[in-house]
């Protein structure tokens, strides 16, 4: 193969509980980007692109000024949220592969203590416009509530019990017990604690939902020539994909029991020529456990009627799991950096640097936030 781009450096801030960061969000972004540049063995001035997703609070011109960027050639932010983590990586790959830039930063920084919870609901007493006009008056306001409607239908159609969601949450917590960076390090989750936790919205307990954290993570995507010169083994970008359905949302009549990742799978496996059985380790963005369960099916890892058995019995736990999954603890138990930290973990797996290292990793998959569109996913490879 002839890979054109690779991740050459990764970095992150320390991760904090909501409100505990001693730094502003912009400072957190700078910490992660400076660490990634150091890891890649490049000077900050050699960075020539910035890509993020979801919001533009830490925009490219501000970063370029703060970090002494001499020639910013590529700047972009995808418009949507955690579903577009891999889409942001795709933009970096496109820029580097086309020769428009050589060292592009992809990052996500969040300080919810400073700016409030991601996806927080709007106020009472006002009026609601657009799509929210048809949802908000009924108290359908948050990603958790929307994904719950899809998960409830999926569980109904395929005879799935609450234990499947519990198994996914427990796997993330179990894997975090190997990872000193993880906010849930030293705090394992038992089945009893899971079931005793309060309902947020059925079928989601508290432990099915991503927490609120502060922190930042970043990677450097570099050209093949740069990657071969770097100090660390490149994590080659094998391919990435986006997709929107078919059909999307709580108004999708024929696709209600979905995570809307069917097209992502079709496009990713078609583009890369690979499939689920070629993946040695996977990271699935958990906004909610139930949405991940559906995304695993949409991505082709298990049939819907078999998914409960597929995730049961510790099948997702540890480096020698049946399916090594969210090996750093994921959004639930490492930190909720909107999935960007799962890109870093994928790179660690390719390099052999994970705290839950799978042996002989050739391909590592990262899947963006399920239940939203366009979804995205990316495959990293160890070989050129």
């Amino acid at each position: 193969m002839d890979r054109k781009s690779a991740v050459t450096g990764i970095g992150e801030s320390a991760y904090y509980k909501y409100g505990d960061s001693p730094h502003t969000e912009f400072q957190l972004a700078c910490i992660a980007i400076m660490a990634a540049a150091e890891d890649a063995g490049i000077a900050l001035s050699e960075i020539d692109g910035f890509i993020s997703y979801s919001d533009t609070r830490n925009g490219p011109t501000r970063l370029a000024a703060a970090l002494g960027i001499e020639n910013l050639r590529w700047a972009a932010t995808t418009g949507s949220g955690g579903n577009s983590v891999a889409a942001a990586m795709m933009l970096a790959d496109a820029a580097v592969t086309a020769g428009y830039a050589e060292n592009v930063v992809v990052f996500r920084a969040l300080c919810q203590g400073q700016f409030g919870r991601f996806g927080q609901a709007g106020g009472a007493g006002g009026t609601m416009s657009g799509l929210l006009a048809f949802n908000g008056p009924y108290g359908l306001l948050t990603p958790a509530q929307q994904c719950a409607l899809h998960t409830a239908r999926f569980m109904h159609d395929h005879g799935i019990s609450q234990e499947a969601l519990c198994d996914i949450a427990m796997a993330c917590y179990a894997n975090a017990q190997n990872n000193p960076r993880a906010l849930k390090y030293g705090k394992p989750l038992t089945r009893e604690q899971y079931h005793a936790s309060r309902w947020i919205v059925t079928p989601y307990h508290l432990f099915d939902c991503c927490p609120e954290n502060d922190g930042a993570a970043a990677v450097i995507v570099s050209s093949a020539a740069r990657a071969k010169d770097g100090p660390k083994s490149p994590a080659w970008i094998v391919g990435a994909a986006q997709g929107i359905g078919p059909q999307f949302g709580t108004y999708a009549p024929d696709n209600l029991a979905s995570s809307f990742y069917g097209q992502v799978a079709e496009n990713l496996w078609g583009y890369t020529g690979l499939g689920p059985t070629d993946m040695d380790v996977v990271q699935f963005y958990e906004n909610f456990t139930g949405a991940v369960m559906i995304a695993m099916c949409d991505m082709g890892f298990a049939p819907p009627d078999g998914i409960e058995e597929f995730v049961s019995g510790g099948a997702l736990v540890g480096a020698d799991a049946k399916l090594p999954f969210n090996t750093s603890g994921g959004n639930l138990a490492e930190a909720y950096i909107h999935g960007m930290q799962m890109v870093n973990e994928s790179v660690r797996q390719i390099r052999g640097e994970s705290t839950c290292q799978v042996s002989n990793v050739e391909h590592a998959l990262m899947v963006g936030g399920p239940g939203y569109a366009p979804g995205s996913a990316i495959v990293f490879g160890a070989s050129t």
Partner: protein, 143 residues
């Protein structure tokens, strides 16, 4: 009926997209004048034939629960006294191909099941700004 989520809870802004659904006193679904396709929420173009000629269909208001989630955590302080509440996704019997969102009313939130037949009932509330009467479609158990 009084509002499920309290009379002070947020209302839809009335505009070209929302007015028919929230002021007709009946369940009103957008329908293409050219190809007769139903769609919801309303849109400026038919998703089936791309016509811009769209009309309103008055449904008899019978439906079926396609999904249900019971909200326990009040994500807004204004909802604190109104949890738990049931959010339903409902298919409309005489407007195939569309789903609408509503609350389940008339029985406990955790008693609604996927597949249950439901019928529309209207919450009536006056918009405090415009004074206009809103009729907000909700769903109660049928049969």
């Amino acid at each position: 009926m009084t509002r499920v989520l309290g009379d002070g809870w947020a209302l839809p802004a009335l505009d070209h997209s929302t007015t028919a659904f929230f002021t007709s006193g009946k369940l009103v679904i957008q329908q293409c004048s050219k190809c007769a396709q139903f769609q919801h929420p309303p849109e400026g173009v038919c998703h089936s034939c791309q016509s811009f000629e769209l009309q309103h269909f008055e449904s008899a208001g019978a439906g079926k629960v396609e999904s249900v989630a019971v909200v326990h955590h009040p994500v807004n302080p204004g909802l604190a006294d109104h949890v738990p509440y049931a959010v339903l996704v409902v298919s409309v019997d005489d407007a195939p191909g569309v789903l609408v969102i509503g609350n389940g009313v008339g029985k406990a939130p955790d008693e609604f099941r996927i597949g249950d037949p439901v019928r529309v009932v209207m919450e009536e509330v006056d918009d405090p700004k415009s004074g206009q009467r809103l009729t907000i479609p909700q769903w109660e158990a049928a049969g």
